[in-house]
């Protein structure tokens, strides 16, 4: 059981890291932000599995906080950074 969970956490972490590639490559702002969001969800998964594996129920609280605040970064991104008003200008970020 523990071994299986260990392997699974490892795979989850690897899958999380795969998102780094997308952040690195982009090409647009949104792609990067989405990849980060995806990693957040994976992180939540990791945390809940760890809560079971390490018998640390507090980690579920951590996961809860992550889930609760997951939206925040995207929200800030959309509301404050990637605003429709500067549509014309995002071009040079495309490549």
């Amino acid at each position: 059981m523990t071994l299986a969970l260990d392997v699974l956490t490892l795979i989850l972490l690897a899958s999380l890291l795969a998102g780094l590639l997308r952040i690195w490559r982009g090409p647009g702002f949104a792609d990067r932000m989405l990849a980060a969001q995806l990693m957040g969800t994976t992180g939540i998964g990791l945390l809940v599995v760890f809560a079971e594996r390490l018998a640390m129920p507090a980690l579920r609280d951590v996961a809860l906080v992550f889930a609760l605040l997951a939206l925040l970064a995207v929200l800030a991104f959309v509301a404050r950074l990637w605003d429709p008003e500067d549509a014309a200008e995002d071009d040079h970020e495309r490549h």
């Binding site: 129920p57 609280d61 809860l64 609760l68 605040l69 929200l75 509301a79 404050r80």
Partner: protein, 236 residues
């Protein structure tokens, strides 16, 4: 960036890393066992969770100053706004869906914040984490274009911002007035005092973090710098 700067940075970083590595490798075995001491004394502290006990009892003076740091940062931010007034702020996104979701999530966020605060007495959690969560919910609210009523009334906000430090200082001073060492709460009251202090801290931390976000200059106002740029900047 210049080559020289790069070389200097690399040398500094390398030397730094080597020195640290040396220090870690050569480190002696600690003589003192502080965790055991915490374990032994926790019964007399105001909280059962060791970290909360360290933060709010054994080393509460650190925490008091730390709250001071946060309040101080907020004050500086206020002072800067005073010196350089801002134009109107454009609030955020205006989507009905988002508003609905945020207003749905808000009670939950407050609840989680309260839960984390409450958990701090016995298990991981505490004032700072709770405050951060509440601040984050405030941020979400603002980013979604919603406004929390009454928070713009400066005096009330100031009072809430200062609440944490004020309550903490009061809690520190009370034992001294009763003839004990400063911050030395009688065992019977310790738990109550810790809880009161924690609640006040949560409010102040949440508002403080939120204020630091709000006091940054807002997005939309006239370009201030353009006329300045035209003339050469004065050196020393």
């Amino acid at each position: 960036m210049s080559r020289l700067r790069l070389a200097a940075a690399a040398t500094a970083a390398l030397g730094f890393a080597l020195a640290l590595a040396l220090a870690v490798i050569e480190r002696p075995a600690a003589v003192l066992n502080l965790p055991a001491l915490v374990e032994a004394e926790i019964a007399g502290a105001g909280a059962l969770h060791p970290i909360t006990a360290v933060l709010l009892d054994f080393r509460s003076f650190d925490t008091l100053l730390e709250v001071g740091v946060l309040l101080l940062a907020v004050i500086v931010a206020y002072a800067l706004r005073e010196a350089q007034p801002d134009g109107p702020d454009r609030m955020g996104l205006d989507t009905p869906l988002l508003r609905a979701v945020i207003s749905l999530l808000l009670p939950l966020m407050l609840l989680v914040g309260a839960y984390v605060l409450w958990a701090g007495a016995t298990r991981p959690g505490g004032a700072f984490q709770a405050g951060a969560i509440l601040a984050a919910s405030g941020l979400a609210l603002r980013l979604a274009g919603l406004r929390v009523g009454g928070l713009d009334r400066a005096w009330r906000v100031h009072a809430l911002l200062a609440l944490g430090l004020a309550v903490f200082v009061a809690a520190a001073v009370l034992p001294a007035l009763a003839g004990h060492a400063m911050l030395d709460h009688p065992a019977t009251l310790a738990k109550t005092i810790v809880i009161v202090v924690e609640i006040a801290l949560t409010v102040s931390i949440a508002l403080g973090l939120l204020a630091l976000f709000r006091l940054a200059p807002p997005q939309v106002d006239g370009p201030v710098f353009e006329d300045r740029r035209s003339k050469p900047r004065g050196g020393a």
